[in-house]
């Protein structure tokens, strides 16, 4: 393994081709306090305007942190198995190796000889004024990459030569801000890359580490955005890294880039793909969409908007989880079955109760007018049955037993939302089960399981 992986491998983007390649001379560490103010201005978006020095310093980084990042990191660090591994000699060696590996394979550069890099580091300094000293290294690699690691007397940041060669100042600011975001929130202390493949760690812990890595990327992207102050620069950097296209002619519209997300979702659902849980980074269009949502929420200026954006991002990241988001109806790959099947079940009593309605709202396809859909289905539910069948038969990959169970469990959850499940609702569940190729008696078993789980949950919440 490349010793650099032991720390925090990260992507960077490429500078524009007009920039001279970095000559990589030995240089001196940067004292950011000595740097002149950034005069670039550039293409700052109003929504992320705090790239200006005074506003940037006043940013409440903690409030920007993506909540799942903090929650999952707390869970991971509370795990005894993780604690044992992080305290083991193997991990101390990994920490040391990452530093020595960098020193052995890279050269320290004085950013003053690379104006665009100096400008980017100034931007970082303004956003993170507490950082005392930065040592900047460049290593020879065609991959656009960057990572950060704490040193004894300061912070080491390492950029691949491709990143320095192909990224302009704004893009470098995004990349460096992203990396410093990782440092700010303690992401790099965890050695996540090692934990995720550690054979001595329980699979569930390793999976949680991967989930957290993806959540941590969302936080780091927000910090990158704070430093570069431009969605356009962020989009260009992400696009260059993902595609490898480094031409000056790259026009990466944040909105168009983010719009790829919906197409990706449709493809993943129709394919039935679930092989994304081992990936440390979210899909690039997901990251772009998450930055867009965040930027819009900040522009709206209230906590509720940020909460809504975070909830939407939770749903997007659930697409990369092996079993969805963890809640009964949280599996994005089964959302169509939950919605159309849930509607069929709920309407067995002739109406949709307010609680059933709230359940259905969480799984309604994007753009659905729920009021109109329910009214139409109440008059004639044939369309709902058809949509349910289409959602099932339209998938290219066979449904696993666990997925089918999740569908029936979710449908029972909708039926039970109003506190009772009628015979009519059970009968409809059995018919839906038949469409899924499941024996009707399975519905009774799933129902019994649900009721037992519910009693356990109630006992726990009652403190019994």
């Amino acid at each position: 393994m490349d010793p650099r992986d032991a720390t925090h491998p990260r992507e960077t983007s490429a500078p524009d081709s007009a920039t001279e390649p970095a000559p990589a001379p030995a240089g001196s560490p940067i004292d950011a306090a000595a740097r002149p103010a950034d005069a670039s201005g550039g293409d700052s978006d109003p929504a992320v305007a705090p790239a200006t020095a005074a506003a940037a310093r006043s940013l409440d980084h903690g409030r920007w942190r993506y909540p799942a990042d903090a929650r999952l990191l707390t869970e991971i660090l509370a795990s005894d198995a993780v604690k044992r591994r992080l305290e083991s000699p193997a991990y101390e060696i990994a920490r040391q190796t990452s530093r020595t590996g960098m020193l052995a394979g890279a050269v320290m550069v004085d950013p003053t000889v690379l104006p665009h890099l100096a400008e980017a580091i100034d931007g970082v300094r303004r956003e993170f004024p507490d950082i005392q000293r930065i040592d900047c290294f460049v290593y020879n690699s065609g991959d656009m990459n960057a990572f950060i690691t704490p040193g004894r007397s300061g912070t080491f940041i390492a950029l691949s030569s491709a990143a320095v060669n192909h990224l302009d100042a704004g893009e470098l600011k995004y990349v460096l801000g992203h990396e410093f975001g990782h440092a700010l929130f303690g992401h790099i202390d965890v050695l996540a890359g090692n934990l995720a493949v550690d054979p001595l760690l329980p699979t569930a812990d390793a999976g949680r580490v991967r989930s957290w890595q993806r959540a941590a990327e969302i936080t780091a992207d927000r910090m990158g955005l704070a430093v570069c102050g431009s969605l356009t620069s962020a989009a260009r950097a992400l696009f260059k890294v993902a595609s490898g296209i480094v031409s000056d002619a790259v026009v990466a519209s944040p909105e168009r880039f983010a719009a790829q997300w919906q197409r990706l979702v449709e493809e993943v659902i129709s394919e039935g793909d679930r092989g994304f849980d081992h990936i440390s980074h979210p899909f690039p269009p997901l990251r772009m969409r998450a930055m867009l949502l965040f930027s819009e929420a900040r522009a709206a200026g209230d906590g509720a908007a940020l909460d809504a954006a975070n909830t939407a991002i939770d749903g997007m990241l659930a697409m990369m989880e092996p079993g969805g988001g963890g809640g009964t109806l949280d599996d994005p790959l089964l959302r169509g079955l939950f919605f159309w099947g849930g509607l069929v079940v709920a309407l067995a009593d002739g109406y949709v109760s307010p609680r059933e309605w709230r359940r259905l709202e969480t799984v309604a396809p994007p753009g659905t007018d729920l009021t109109a859909t329910v009214a139409s289905a109440a008059a004639d539910d044939a369309g709902c049955w058809e949509q349910f069948s289409t959602a099932f038969l339209g998938r290219r990959r066979k449904f696993s037993g666990l997925e089918l169970h999740r569908v029936l469990y979710g449908l029972y959850d909708v039926a039970k939302a109003d506190g009772k499940v009628s015979d009519g609702e059970m009968e409809r569940m059995r018919k839906l089960a038949a469409i899924l190729g499941v024996v009707p008696e399975a519905c009774d078993h799933v129902a019994a399981q649900f009721e037992r789980d519910l009693r356990k949950t109630e006992q726990v919440s009652d403190g019994r």
């Binding site: 696993s400 666990l402 169970h405 078993h445 799933v446």
Partner: protein, 148 residues
């Protein structure tokens, strides 16, 4: 892996529910347990245990059913003839295998089969669990018992 066992057993329970198989999670045994009627007023207990192959590997299940206990005392042990017969029967067995599990007091003739949990579907679980239960019960019946 030990920490994952409850969650994985819960997954087994879910697929069993889908197959309309009744059972329960025995926390002490670390297994999902089912009792099968095998005809003629006989029954057979089947245990599903979980394990993982390698780091971050796929979760597997082992469907097991004990068929006979053989105490390893000087006068009572598995004879060469019986061992050969088990080998012959193994060859003709479908969806299951005979094996010997050592315990401090003796050996258990165990019928078992292994499957991948992630892609396991209800029908597959049902067929294999029945196959294991029937093979174990058939072997046990040859010795006149119905202990398991």
């Amino acid at each position: 892996m030990a920490d994952d066992t409850p969650a994985l057993l819960r997954q087994v329970e879910s697929i069993a529910a889908l197959a309309a198989l009744r059972g329960w999670i025995d926390e002490k045994e670390q297994a999902f347990v089912m009792d099968f009627e095998t005809g003629g007023y006989r029954s057979q207990r089947v245990l599903v245990r979980v394990f993982a192959l390698g780091p971050g590997g796929k979760a597997m299940i082992s469907i097991q059913s004990p068929a006979r206990f053989i105490a390893t005392r000087w006068f009572k042990r598995l004879s060469r003839g019986e061992a050969l017969r088990l080998l012959h029967e193994n060859e003709s067995l479908r969806f299951a295998r005979y094996g010997l599990v050592s315990t401090p007091k003796g050996m258990i003739v165990m019928v078992s089969c292994d499957l991948m949990l992630e892609t396991l579907d209800a029908e597959e679980l049902r067929v294999h669990a029945y196959a294991v239960a029937n093979a174990a019960d058939r072997y046990e019946a040859q010795f006149g018992g119905d202990q398991y």
